[in-house]
């Protein structure tokens, strides 16, 4: 499944309300819960937190890609959160993160998980594109940007 097939308005939130890392992880998982993409909020959140405990997925250029394998999902799930003001996410360059891609995958689909993460990594290489996403006024605009990218 192409990443773009997962991107619909209900899994996009801008701006995020959170001010710190624990809250932003919770808010991202909540997006999926509210969109009825997951049932078990707690185990999904736990899986993401466990991965973050090993090392932050906050990358350079204000992007973070929290991800996890979890039985809480039966297929690949994506949530996109945007915090134009930036949130401290322990990123590798020490800069606040603004663009969050949460990816949850079932343990039996490693190939699709890897390919979706790789697609996000490729998107993240374009500074101009990421800047446009951060500047988007609403979820609809984010979806349009992703589709037209």
């Amino acid at each position: 499944m192409a990443l773009i097939d997962l991107i619909v308005e209900k899994i996009v939130k801008t701006p995020l309300e959170s001010k710190d890392k624990p809250d932003v992880l919770r808010e991202l998982v909540r997006i999926l819960k509210d969109a009825e993409e997951i049932d078990d909020f707690d185990s999904a959140l736990k899986a993401v937190q466990n991965r973050e405990d090993k090392q932050s997925t906050g990358l350079e250029k204000s992007i973070a890609v929290p991800h996890a394998k979890t039985d809480a999902v039966s297929s690949l799930k994506l949530a996109i959160g945007i915090a134009p003001q930036g949130i401290d996410f322990d990123s590798i360059d020490g800069e606040p993160s603004k663009l969050f891609f949460l990816l949850l995958a079932p343990p039996n689909q490693p190939g699709t998980h890897v390919e979706a993460l790789a697609e996000i990594a490729k998107l993240a290489r374009s500074k101009a594109f990421c800047k446009a996403l951060v500047s988007a006024d609403n979820a609809k605009e984010v979806v349009e940007l992703m589709e037209g990218g």
């Binding site: 499944m1 192409a2 773009i4 097939d5 090993k54 090392q55 997925t57 990358l59 890609v65 991800h67 590798i92 343990p107 039996n108 689909q109 490693p110 190939g111 699709t112 998980h113 890897v114 390919e115 993460l117 790789a118 697609e119 996000i120 990594a121 490729k122 998107l123 993240a124 992703m146 589709e147 037209g148 990218g149």
Partner: protein, 162 residues
């Protein structure tokens, strides 16, 4: 004139589309008597990219590659079962690397006449065109390419095969 198709390569990636392509390829091999090879590519290039981008930790890289190897074996065994059920011999092949490059290598090395692939993803952005490995393989191989569509019809054809 000899047989127009002597060797068929079907690319398997674990998607329903690729399993459907395998069913079609089994029918085609049965009708034509061509040799059939099922190829799964473990996308280690993507995993390496994720490690380089620092999205993956080293132990995640090892874990995911291991999971992907198990996945490859599972899907190749499944396709093998589909072929065996219809009395069609099939060669299983698994390689690691960049998907479209590995497909091209196999087409060249095994002198494939026809590459069979599943239905391509719906293109919704220009980026998809650049990153869809099936599409890149389709453009890069020198042999003919068959894209399998219409899942229900293919399933009926496979089921009706003696």
């Amino acid at each position: 004139m000899g047989k127009p198709i002597k060797k068929i390569l079907v690319y398997i990636d674990g998607t329903e589309q690729s399993v459907n392509a395998a069913q079609y390829a089994i029918c085609l091999a049965s009708f034509s008597g061509a040799e059939l090879i099922a190829h799964y590519v473990i996308n280690t290039r993507a995993v390496e990219d994720l490690l380089r981008a620092r999205i993956f930790l080293k132990d995640e890289q090892v874990e995911y590659e291991h999971d992907m190897e198990a996945d490859a074996e599972r899907y190749l065994n499944y396709v093998n079962e589909l072929a065996v059920k219809k009395g069609v011999p099939i060669i299983k092949k698994c390689s690691k690397g960049t998907v479209h490059k590995e497909i091209v290598n196999t087409v060249n090395e095994d002198e494939i006449d026809l590459l069979v692939i599943g239905e391509l993803s719906r293109i919704r952005s220009r980026r998809d065109e650049f990153y869809d490995e099936n599409e890149r393989a389709m453009r890069a191989v020198h042999c003919s390419v068959l894209i399998v569509k219409d899942e229900d019809r293919v399933w009926e054809m496979y089921e009706s095969l003696a």
